[in-house]
Symmetry: C2
Subunit: 364 residues, 2 copies
């Protein structure tokens, strides 16, 4: 990593190493030719390995939000009863997409900074037998809180047999999510998160159960029509011109990830996150999330009284070369966030904690 | 251009020069920070210069098809009467999107290889007073035929006052399209065409008239909701994480384009296209398009009797390093296509014509 570029500690885009960035500069190829067919097939297979799924997975030229929309509009119909489990801004967004396309959405909301109590999911599903699908965020980027998807999935799938659509944008590839074992019917992610590539591609796993729902789904869609993706994938192509450069980068990033191994990647994220949590607490700061649901990809830290978020973030960036993220919506004046998805060196951890320390001291 | 890479003569992605490709490898930045704000504002302004519009223009992380969908779902409502003028596969796609979202679509179709007779547009609009919007392809990539948008726009806007949505994916930035002067209400394009960048970003101009239509439009959308793009653009951000690398590349490509000048670019495309048309005719081959509507970005050539498209394309690629495009759908066995958008050197023209000549000779 060159020393003259910013230590980018926002929750995506993550810093991308020169080794992967170099692939972004490769010459264009025909996206309807043999070379790209081999590339898309190989990238898709390796994404599936990390997703821990043997079912379908498609790659969209879009941001993560596009994959969340794709999950909804390919499985649901206007008027469908849907439970949206939200623990923050991205959970709200998932619910909002379903509402805009005409679903009848019941919301189960937790306080900001808390994860979802699985018992409450049981209770809402018991009280609303017409619910067809459940939307849930795995890792809430706006608060740095991780939901216990394994427990939630057990309730949604085994106890109630509903469709389970998961926003895994900032979780898959960084923290454990066993798509098939946990019976997640669709899981969205995006290239600029734990995948160590620039933004611009989104991923969506899609189970057999999802395809069954798709057969009777009537929400309109064209660019995000997964049936087109499935049909074209039979000849090793996407339906629309794909972002070739990101396929080249992802090809390299996936090599590195599989060489490291999935459980090693999860372990590394857990260790890095713990170092950040310990470090900010040693500075006397408090964490927004409780220890049991604190995210291993994003840490939210409460701003000390009297410190303005904007001043703090500006000093950290301009004087210490560390770019942190502010809070979103109602948390804007209350927290700052540290992104630690993908590769983070010990040097970057130290530099980040030091930037936080000296920026706060300057503002006291 | 390195000599060991393919002479990519498909209608997008176009070859991208090392100078522009180099920008794709730049380090990530915060897409919600000052540096990106300056970048998106500057890229948007320069795109508008080339679009010849002073109205809105938004940049989507998507393929060109995404921008076509965005034009429709942000202006129309289910049940709206729409005229779709189609001269090939991409015109059919534009009509199809409108139908899927519930529009009542009247189709005006020309024979493959022909452009739209403007008098027929007048006649259809006279006979269908309920039509609210007209969809039209400027340059039909599947046939290499360019529609006379200036004349069609005059009828649609001045004679009938309808909304005019234009697929300019393979035309803007290569051949003349005066967005404001001709009163085009929305014009879609995409980065991998004349813009000389890799695929992954799409552009959509959006007139005041389109915003008026937007106020009462009820087709559902979220990822492609232009109101979100407009709102976020006020603070120099896109609503969803953008493809940063392509913004870097486009920044460089637009510099080169504006240094050359719009009319020089149009002239260069016209000259290059003429060299291709003359060259293939000198080989004794026939063109699909009539001279008056032949595209200056894509040339469709009729395959001689007895020549299989697949064999011909394979030989041109494997033995002569020139990648041509086949025909689409019903034209698959009848034509091949030469893409000549963006930068094309005289050497590449000669190499392409020579590859065509020797590949055909081998198959005789």
């Amino acid at each position: 990593m060159e020393s003259n570029h910013t230590n980018l500690r926002i929750p995506g885009p993550t810093p991308v190493t020169p080794e992967i960035l170099k692939e972004m500069s490769r010459f264009m190829i025909n996206h309807r030719g043999d070379e790209f067919r081999q590339l898309i097939e190989s990238v898709t297979e390796r994404l599936k390995t990390i997703y821990e799924t043997k079912q379908d997975l498609h790659i969209l030229t879009a941001s993560g939000t596009g994959a969340m929309e794709t999950a909804i509009v390919n499985t649901l119909s206007p008027g469908d009863n849907v439970l949206a489990i939200t623990i923050g801004a991205f959970g709200d967004r998932f619910a909002n997409i379903a509402e805009i396309y005409g679903a009848d959405v019941t919301i189960l909301r937790s306080a900001l900074g808390e994860s979802t109590d699985p018992d409450k999911v049981t209770s809402v599903l018991n009280n609303n037998p017409n619910i067809k699908a459940v939307l849930v965020t795995h890792n809430e980027t706006s608060t740095g809180v991780t939901n216990d998807i394994e427990s939630i999935a057990k309730i949604v799938k085994q106890d109630f047999g509903k469709l389970l659509l998961v926003d895994g944008v900032s979780s898959v590839g960084s923290v454990p999510l066993k798509t098939d074992d946990w019976q997640c019917d669709a899981v969205a992610s995006a290239s600029q998160k734990g995948w160590m590539a620039p933004p611009g591609l989104a991923f969506l796993s899609f189970s057999l159960e999802s395809w069954k729902a798709n057969a009777s789904s009537t929400m309109p869609n064209f660019y995000f029509d997964l049936r087109q993706y499935k049909k074209y994938m039979e000849i090793g192509q996407p339906p629309w011109t794909p972002n070739l450069s990101l396929f080249f980068a992802l090809d390299k990033a996936l090599d590195l990830m599989l060489r490291e191994g999935i459980s090693n990647i999860h372990l590394r994220h857990a260790k890095t996150a713990q170092k950040f949590r310990d470090g900010v607490q040693e500075l006397g700061l408090k964490l927004l999330a409780k220890p049991e649901s604190a995210s291993d990809t994003i840490t939210s830290v409460l701003l000390p009284d009297g410190i303005q978020a904007k001043d703090f973030l500006t000093i950290a960036k301009t004087e210490h070369n560390v770019e942190l993220a502010g809070g979103q919506q109602s948390l804007a004046s209350k927290i700052f966030r540290i992104g630690h998805l993908g590769l983070v060196s010990d040097e970057e951890i130290t530099e980040t904690l030091s930037a936080i320390k000296y920026s706060l001291e300057k503002l006291k």
